[in-house]
Amino acid sequence: MKFVCLKCETYMTFEKVEKPAEGSLGVFFECPSCQSRFSMVTNPGETQMVSSLGVQLGGRTVDHAPLEMTRGGLQDNVSAGKGQMAAYLNEKIQGGQPATAASAAPATGSSESGEGGGCPFSAMVAQMGLGSSGSTGTTAPTGEQLLWTPDAQEKLAKLPSFVQPMVKSSVETYARKSGFTTVTLQVMDDSKNASTEGIRWTPEAQERLDNIPDFIRPMARREIERLVKERGGSEITAEVMEEAKEKFMKFM
């Protein structure tokens, strides 16, 4: 954080930090041109933010001790720090009225205000592209609805229910990428042999891959695909596997 002296049009320099009260820091700045000084006083939340970073404003004055932030941050007793920020807000902002988390939080945007209107946080969320549904604000092209043949649907339905959405999504991604409008059994099988990198495995190469111990196979698969991709290839054949054999001899 920096402060600018608008009169001199220069950054003010950091001078020192004092601790005027528990949970508060007084950070002093001075203008190098006109020597004006001011102190920024932090509330407990801002103080906590600096403390959570594990830094000391202005740099270290004592040597680092092991786990100093962890040890220094742990409460000695239950009441220390409890309600500190609520009490601060009550005194400084709420005019003595009880300050609850809800009242301290910004109001949610009304329907009149449109997307994020009236609420700085919802506006920021909208800018970040996150809607209330949790999906990104920009609508992703979903493409045309794909048709599933009855036998393909039946095959999908035979899978455990909790893996079905993932398989469906993966098959449809492959189908769209390959220009299919209907998902058939053949498309399902082909999608299994097509990697996410767009590289195809021939049945012979797949057979060779299957000889690798199962717990190593996924890593081997990714590595072989990477090698082929680096060469600009798009298909993994038995010849490619033979070439790779030397590298993976230990495991094939």
Binding site: Q56, M69, Q84, P160, S170
Partner: protein, 306 residues
């Protein structure tokens, strides 16, 4: 002087200097973590999106299994709010020893070095932080991330073959994959699940999130696969689920299945870990540890580092 100048114009003319030295200190913290982790050959996190699946039990037993393979092992209990590794290893009440170089982790069974928040707490005391945590979890999140960072930078692990980190549960709010991102040169993550559909669903999200962050998923351990009868040793299914199918779909190896073993759970709860390699459940963990070791050897071969 032109007081009418807008801020953008003024800032364009100025040179920024970090005189409060905040950026410099944060950069120094990162360097300290990197430097401390240099002596550790392989760093592996054990995670799951779901709580109660046996992450700590898995981590502890993988650490013991690797130690049985003559590996030098460190175990970092990253579960700040529910640290249980010291209890499982019979190390409650043990403290950290401070040296000029940093905090020395105490040594547990089979020479495993252990670091845990539990070593800084009084018996049964929950973790409570100073500051206005009652109002916003944001500050709590920042504090906890920095506590983990401090555990990585300030512990004197020395030379290790393996550092296993037992991550806290959760798939969204506390984002274990993000915690894993604090560890430089992470070899990968071992994911623990149970064969229940609920656990599998949550675990899948956690895996997807980790993969988005380029964390290598070494494989899945299915815990509580069966129930092993303490009297006759017969194993029966505990849940109806299909971790194997999930692994197949995700393209991730299933490293092994471990039964729920009442005797095992009871002894670890009492801080008397079973170390006997002939115990059948210990044998399951031993097999998984061997697979992880082979996988990482393989990873090293691929990276041209052997």
């Amino acid at each position: 002087m032109t007081p009418q100048s807008d801020l953008k114009t003024i800032l364009n003319k100025l040179h920024y200097s970090d005189d409060a030295k905040v950026v410099a200190q944060i950069s120094e913290q990162t360097k300290m973590v990197m430097s401390r982790m240099k002596g550790i050959r392989r760093k592996v996190v054990v995670m799951s999106g779901k709580g109660g699946v046996g992450k700590s039990m898995t981590t502890v037993n993988l650490a013991l299994a690797l130690a049985r393979m003559d590996q030098r092992v460190g175990l970092l209990d990253v579960d700040i709010n529910g640290p249980c590794v010291p209890q499982m290893l019979g190390m409650r009440g043990v403290g950290l020893f401070d040296s000029p170089d940093g905090a020395i982790p105490p040594t547990g069974p089979l020479g495993i070095k252990v670091a845990s928040m539990d070593f800084l707490l009084q018996a049964n005391a929950p973790v409570r932080w100073k500051g206005p945590m009652d109002l916003s979890p944001v500050w709590l999140g920042m504090t906890e991330m920095n506590v983990i960072r401090e555990f990585l930078s300030d512990m004197v692990w020395g030379e290790l073959d393996y550092l296993l980190a037992d991550l806290p549960p959760g798939a969204a709010a506390d984002k274990p994959p993000l915690l894993a991102g604090l560890i430089p040169d992470l070899a990968g993550a071992v994911v623990v699940t149970t064969p229940s559909e609920v656990a599998s669903n949550v675990v899948q999200k956690s895996i997807a999130y980790a993969q988005e962050l380029d964390i290598e998923i070494l494989g899945v351990v299915e815990n509580m696969s069966q129930y092993r009868c303490p009297s006759c040793g017969v194993e029966n299914p505990l849940f109806e689920g299909d971790t194997e199918s999930m692994c197949e779909v995700l393209g991730i190896p299933l490293l092994g299945r471990v039964p729920f073993d009442r005797n095992f759970a009871r002894t670890f709860d009492k801080g008397q870990p079973i170390l006997d390699a002939s115990d059948p459940t210990v044998g399951k963990y031993q097999d998984i540890a061997k697979k992880i070791h082979t996988l990482l050897d393989y990873q090293q071969v691929l990276a041209g580092k052997s």
